[in-house]
């Protein structure tokens, strides 16, 4: 069984069909890219999987379990991590508080969270991740004082904090400088080797071709192609979708 599977997922905004009858599978240990022109329904797909809003139709399975309609936070606590296309941080909190917030609900019970301090392992891990992302010197800064690139890295770091089994990344390298982009890709590969599964929405084709073993192409909310990078590169429908069909 795949780690994540959607069956006939559909999302309508009023009369606009953003995602249409999408069947999608991710196996354990894969790195999958979701690509497609702007407005092709990639982010909407993520949002339906994590129930940011309900899908109009279709079902979502995670670890063989039907998670359709579960609240977002519950899905996240089952071991799904995600970033948003627009960075979502707690801007008026420090970098370090942001990191700890991203993991606190994964431990203990609601009541225990009133009485226990932060897990020392989590604190250590937060330091390590910030160190790796070259932003550990900013740990006591408010997140709002970070540059766009630094915020992007913090966002990425927060998702990794609870070691999610499935990581959904929405454009992880956009707005991140070259060198850091390479580092992020290496890190994703490293974590992938340790058993984490990644689904990545990405516009940068270098990243997609280098990082991913399998690519899914969306256009107008429909899956128009699926396959290995070299197959996708030569697929006529994909080329048409990206460059427009010449009459």
């Amino acid at each position: 069984m795949p780690l994540l599977e959607t069956q006939k997922m559909t999302k309508d905004f009023y009369k606009l069909r953003a995602v249409s009858q999408l069947d999608f599978q991710v196996e354990r240990g894969e790195i999958v890219a979701v690509i497609g022109p702007n407005g092709s329904g990639k982010s909407t797909f993520f949002n339906c999987v994590t129930h940011i809003y309900p899908a109009t139709a279709g079902r979502v399975y995670y670890q063989e379990r039907d998670i359709t309609g579960l609240p977002t936070d519950k899905i996240i606590r089952l071991g799904v991590g995600r970033t948003f296309q627009l960075i979502q941080l707690f801007l008026e909190m420090t970098v370090f508080e942001n990191m700890l917030l991203s993991v606190q609900e994964h431990r203990g019970t609601l009541l225990s969270r009133l009485f226990t301090k932060d897990d020392s392992g989590d604190v250590e891990r937060a330091h390590e991740i910030l160190e790796f992302l070259y932003i550990s010197h900013l740990k006591d800064e408010l997140a709002s004082n970070l540059s766009y690139g630094q915020q992007k890295l913090l966002d990425f770091g927060m998702v990794l904090m609870p070691r999610p089994e499935l990581v959904l990344l929405d454009e992880p390298t956009s707005g991140v400088e070259m060198e850091m982009r390479g580092r992020i890709m290496d890190y994703i590969r490293e974590l992938n080797k340790q058993g984490q599964t990644f689904v990545v929405i990405e516009h940068n084709m270098d990243v997609v071709m280098n990082l991913c073993e399998r690519i899914i192409v969306l256009d107008y909310g429909e899956k128009i192609a699926e396959g290995r990078p070299e197959e996708i590169q030569t697929n006529q429908r994909v080329i048409d979708a990206y460059f427009g069909v010449e009459e």
Binding site: F84, F90, M93, L101, V103, E105, R113, L114
Partner: protein, 314 residues
């Protein structure tokens, strides 16, 4: 170290204060302790979790009526006091449900509606609440031979509970709950995206905020020895709002500063009720226009300025 010394001195001053106060002033200071407790609750709900509550007077009232009515049934004060908080807290959790769906102005109106409805229930259901005349003859507690009946002894009881309430709020704010409250208040989408349940924490923010208000109510009833619906109208909710806005929302010191100003201000300035309401309404506007952080910002600046001065003298 200096901080502890500072707080020690403050507590010491509050301990010897009654010697220097007349009956009425003692009552006003006692009342301030009660109101601070309620305002701390509102600060948790609104200041930290950003959930608008304009019905904290209802929670306050539920606590007060719980105390007044159960005391009349012969229950012990020490048992009823936590019950006042728990009843108000449960009611708060129920009021939290609209907050799952509504924000800001909608929530403001819904909670105003709740306050108006509870006020009507207090007025109309006389079989339970005594109607417009309320509940009178409320007694003050004692432990063994130590009686809190006199104003001065009750003052000390309130002082102890006031300090406990502040410590409890500091504990909550610094706990993972407090962090989750702020997270929900700042960015609900991000919070959900990191596994923080808005369902749990919104209801909790209302429940905890209402708990403090309920305990405040439980202390209020024996202080006055008499309660009536007038003390729990929407305008009282508005006064709680004014307290935390003037003091500083989302700051521990906020409700303390705010309650001191709102409760003691009129007494010090000897103003008529309408006059101080004008002044406070005006301050509310001015704070929103020019100092959204509240008066606690002034304290912050002082705190920064004083060490700088000492440094420059060297």
């Amino acid at each position: 170290m200096i901080r502890w010394l500072f707080w020690g001195i403050i507590v010491a001053i509050l301990c010897v204060l009654p010697r220097f106060l007349g009956d009425y002033t003692l009552y006003v200071v006692s009342l301030t302790y009660v109101y601070v407790t309620v305002a701390i609750g509102l600060n948790l709900t609104l200041g930290y979790a950003n959930q608008v509550s304009l019905c904290h007077a209802s929670f306050f009232g539920i606590g007060a009526y719980t105390m007044g009515l159960l005391l009349a049934q012969g229950w012990s004060f020490w048992l009823i006091l936590p019950l006042s908080g728990i009843f108000a807290g449960l009611f708060g959790a129920v009021i939290g449900f609209p907050a799952l769906k509504w924000k800001d102005h909608y929530l403001a109106l819904i909670t105003i509606a709740i306050n108006i409805i509870t006020f009507f229930v207090m007025m109309q259901e006389s079989w339970l609440t005594g109607g417009p005349t309320g509940v009178s003859g409320i007694t003050r507690p004692s432990i063994g031979s130590l009686s809190f009946t006199s104003d001065i002894n009750y003052y000390y009881l309130l002082l102890v509970l006031f300090i406990l309430a502040i410590l409890a709020s500091i504990w909550i704010v610094n706990s993972k709950w407090g962090r989750a409250f702020r997270a929900i208040g700042l960015n609900e989408l991000a919070a959900r995206g990191h596994g923080i349940s808005s369902f749990n924490y919104k209801l909790l923010a209302f429940a905890v905020g209402a708990f403090f208000a309920g305990v405040g109510g439980g202390l209020f009833a024996p202080l006055l020895r008499y309660i009536s619906p007038d003390a729990f109208t929407f305008f009282i909710s508005l006064e709680f709002l004014i307290m935390i806005v003037i003091g500083g929302m989302g700051r521990i010191e906020g409700p303390i500063i705010g309650a001191i100003i709102v409760v003691m201000g009129p007494e010090v300035l000897r103003m008529a009720e309408a006059a101080y309401l004008i002044v406070y309404s005006l301050i509310l506007i001015l704070v929103m226009l020019f100092m959204r952080g509240g008066l606690v910002i002034v304290l912050d600046r002082l705190r920064e300025a004083i060490p700088a001065r000492i440094g420059s003298r060297r």
